[in-house]
C-alpha cells in the first residue's frame, strides 16, 4: 500500500498547475461564476482544451492506440482534481475525455472511432448528453424517445430535458428506444447525433445553477444514418452503464470542496473567527467529510488503475461527494455571515451546489438503492 503520489505524477501536477496559472485569465473567477454552459466559459474552454491538446494532455489517460499516452488513471485524476477545484476550465469537454471517448473506444465501429476520437482529442468539439426525459426523472429506463428505422436511417422523435451544454454542443450522446414495444432497460440504443441535424430544437430552462445550464431538447423527425448508433441495436443499456461508471466519479467534488475549505479557513483566520472553537470544530469536521469523499474516490481510481472490475465504490464515492458539498455549503454560509446573502457569492454558490448535489447523475436515493442491493445484498421490492 502506498499513499503518496509518484514522483512523476507529483511533477506533472506542478507542471499542470503552472500551466493553469499561465493560461487562466485574470478574471477567471468572474467567467467561471457563470457556469460551464455560459457563452463566456464555453469560448474560453475551447481555447483551453486546444492548448491542453497541443501538449498532449487532454487525453493522455487514453490508450496510445487511440492517440493517448497510456498515462493511467492516477494521472487523469491529477487533471480532474486541479480542473474541478477551480471550476472546470475544460467546460463540458470533461465529459468527452472521461466517458464519451472511452465509450466510443469500447463500443464504436472503426468509422466512429476515426470520426470521434481525434475530434475529442483535439479539444475542438463539444458533447451533450440526452438521457433524462420529462416523464422519467432519475428513472432513465422509462424513457419514451423513439428511434424508428427507415431505410438507411433512424428517425428520432421525443423530448429530452435537463440537458446541459446544448448551446455549444456538436454532438449529443442520445438514448432512444429502438424497440417501441420494449419496456424498462431493454430495447434502448445509443445514438451519436450531430446537433446540426434538422429537427432539433432547444429551449433554455432558467435555473439557479448558472446561465444555459438546463435545456429541453425537442427531437422532431430527426433523421440520422444507421451508422450513428453506438453499440448493438437494443443494447444501449450496457453502453450507458459503461459510460456512467466513468461519469459518476468524473467530478472531483472533494477537490473543489477542499479548495473552498482552504478559502474559508483563510477568511476565518483573517477575521479572527479561528479563535472561535465552534468554527475550528466545524472546519475540522467538514475537512474530515471532504477527505472521506476523497478516499472513496481514490479507491475507485485505484481499481481503475489496476484494471480491476468496477465495484460499488463508484456509488459510495458519488454519495460521499454529495454529502461533502452539502456540509461545505452550510459551513460557507455560517463562516461568511452576511456576505452569504449575496446571490452568486462564494457562500451562495456553494449553497446552490449543495442544493443540487444529490440530484445530478442519478439521484442519491437511486445510488443508495444500488449500494443496498449490490453491496449489502438486500432484497429488491
Amino acid at each position: 500500500m502506498e499513499f503518496d503520489w509518484s514522483v512523476e505524477d507529483a511533477a506533472y501536477r506542478k507542471e499542470f498547475v503552472d500551466f493553469l496559472g499561465e493560461i487562466l485569465p485574470e478574471n477567471w473567477d468572474e467567467i467561471s461564476k457563470h457556469g460551464p454552459g455560459s457563452d463566456l466559459q464555453a469560448e474560453f474552454s475551447k481555447k483551453f482544451c486546444g492548448k491542453m491538446a497541443d501538449k498532449g494532455w487532454l487525453t493522455q489517460h487514453w490508450p496510445a492506440e487511440y492517440g493517448g499516452k497510456d498515462a493511467g488513471a492516477w494521472r487523469h485524476a491529477v487533471v480532474g482534481e486541479e480542473c474541478w477545484a477551480i471550476g472546470e476550465p475544460r467546460g463540458s469537454q470533461y465529459m468527452n475525455v472521461n466517458w464519451v471517448g472511452p465509450a466510443v473506444m469500447q463500443y464504436g465501429t472503426d468509422e466512429q472511432k476515426k470520426l470521434h476520437l481525434p475530434a475529442i482529442a483535439s479539444g475542438n468539439i463539444f458533447w451533450c448528453q440526452g438521457f433524462s426525459e420529462p416523464e422519467a426523472g432519475s428513472d432513465l429506463v422509462s424513457l419514451r424517445t423513439l428511434a424508428i428505422p427507415d431505410g438507411d436511417d433512424y428517425v428520432i422523435n421525443g423530448t429530452k430535458i435537463w440537458t446541459s451544454y446544448v448551446q455549444h454542443a456538436n454532438y449529443c450522446f442520445l438514448l432512444a428506444r429502438t424497440d417501441p414495444d420494449s419496456k424498462r432497460h431493454t430495447g434502448i440504443s445509443v445514438f451519436l447525433v450531430p446537433m446540426e441535424t434538422p429537427g432539433i430544437e432547444v429551449r433554455e430552462i432558467p435555473s439557479v445553477v448558472g446561465a444555459r445550464y438546463f435545456h429541453e431538447v425537442f427531437f422532431t423527425d430527426v433523421r440520422v444514418p444507421k451508422g450513428c448508433m453506438l453499440g448493438e441495436v437494443n443494447a444501449g443499456w450496457e453502453v450507458v452503464n459503461f459510460a456512467l461508471q466513468y461519469e459518476r466519479v468524473g467530478a472531483a467534488r472533494y477537490a473543489r470542496a477542499a479548495l473552498t475549505l482552504d478559502h474559508l479557513a483563510k477568511v476565518a483566520k483573517e477575521t479572527g473567527l479561528m479563535d472561535d472553537p465552534i468554527v475550528v470544530d466545524k472546519l475540522a469536521q467538514a475537512r474530515c467529510i471532504c477527505e472521506a469523499a476523497r478516499m472513496l474516490t481514490y479507491r475507485v481510481i485505484d481499481t481503475r488503475a489496476k484494471d480491476a472490475k468496477p465495484t460499488t465504490d463508484t456509488q459510495l464515492a458519488r454519495i460521499a461527494g454529495t454529502r461533502t458539498d452539502r456540509a461545505i455549503g452550510e459551513l460557507a454560509v455560517e463562516i461568511l455571515g452576511p456576505d452569504a446573502l449575496e446571490y452568486g457569492s462564494f457562500a451562495d454558490a456553494n449553497f446552490r451546489l449543495a442544493m443540487t448535489a444529490g440530484v445530478a447523475v442519478g439521484a442519491t436515493e437511486v445510488q443508495l438503492n444500488l449500494v443496498a442491493r449490490r453491496f449489502l445484498e438486500l432484497p429488491k421490492k
Binding site: S132, E135, A136, G137, S138, D139, S142, I161, W162, I205, P206, S207, V208, V209, F214, T271, I278, R326, V333, E334, G337, P338, D339, A340, L341, E342, Y343, G344, S345, D348, F351, R352, M355, T356, G358, V359, A363, T364, E365, L368
Partner: protein, 322 residues
Amino acid sequence: MSLDLTFSDEQAGILDAIRKFTKERCPGETVRELAGKFPTELWAELAELGVLPIATEDGGGGALEVVAAMEALGAAVFPGPLAETFLATQILEGDELQEVGAGESIVSLSAAPRGDALSLVPWPEQAKVSLQIDGTNIYRCKTVGSPEMVTSLGGDPYGRVKLERTGEVKNAARGLALFDIAVSAYMAAAGDDLVEVTAEHARTRKQFGRTLGEFQAVAHPLAESSIALSASRTLARAAACAFDEGRDDANGLAAGARLSARKSALFTVYASHQIFGAMGITLEGPVYHVSRRIRQLSSAGASVAVAHEEALALFGINAVSA
C-alpha cells in the same frame, strides 16, 4: 383550563383574512415576478389591511396577532421586509412609527459588517429607516455614499454601502424578540408550503413504475419535515404568548423558536429539493422561490451565536412548568 394552543377567534380571523388576500393577490407567479423589485402595490395593500402596526397600541394586537399574520404571509412567501417592520414598530415612536405602520416608510435591517467592510443592506433605495444589528444591540444608521447594487439570494435588491451609526436604539431586546417570533412563524409557514407542494408532487408523480410518495426515501423526509415545522410553529406561538404577557422567558423562547424554525425550514428545503430534483432548481419551478426566501431568512436577525445564548435562557423555562 391551563394552556390553550388554539388561536382566538380574532386571531384566526386575521389568519383567514390575510390568507384570502394573499390567495388573490400573491400567488406563486407574482412572487417569482417580483424577484428583484420592491413589492410596492402589495405593500400598500398590506398596510391598508392594518397588518403592519398590529403589535402597537394603536394596532390593537400583539405578538400573537403578528404570528397569525405571518403564518398566512409565510405560506404565500409574501415579499418585503415584514419581520423588519414588526421589529421597527417596537422601537420607533411618533410620526416615524405612523409612517412605518402605514407602509409609507420602508425599514432596512442589516447585520454589522466584519471590520471595515461595507454593509450589505436590503432595500437601499427604498428604505427610510436603516437599522443595524450588532450582537443584541440595534443602531440607527445613515447611509454614506450611494450603494453598489447586488442581487441577494432571496431575490430582493441589496446594496453594499457604508453605514454610519447615528444612535443606539432603546427597546432593542423587545424588537429583536418580536423579529424572531415573526420570522419563525413565517419560516415555519413557508416550510409547510414547501411540504404541501412537494407532497402533492409525491402523490402524483410516477417513477420506477410507482408513485413517488410510496418510497420511504421520499415519504420519511417529508414526514420529518412536517413534524419539525409543526413544532417550530407551536414554539413561535408559545413565544408570542410569553411576549404578550411580558414574561421573562419571552426572549429565550423567541430565540429558541427562531433556531427551531431555521433548522426545520432548511431541513425542509433540502428534503424538497432532493425530491423535486432538477425541477426544483429551475427559476420557473414550483419551489425555488420558496426555498430561496427561506434560505435568506435563515441568515436574518441577530447572529445564530447570539440566539444560542438567548435560548440558553430557556433554562428558565421550567418556570413555565413550575
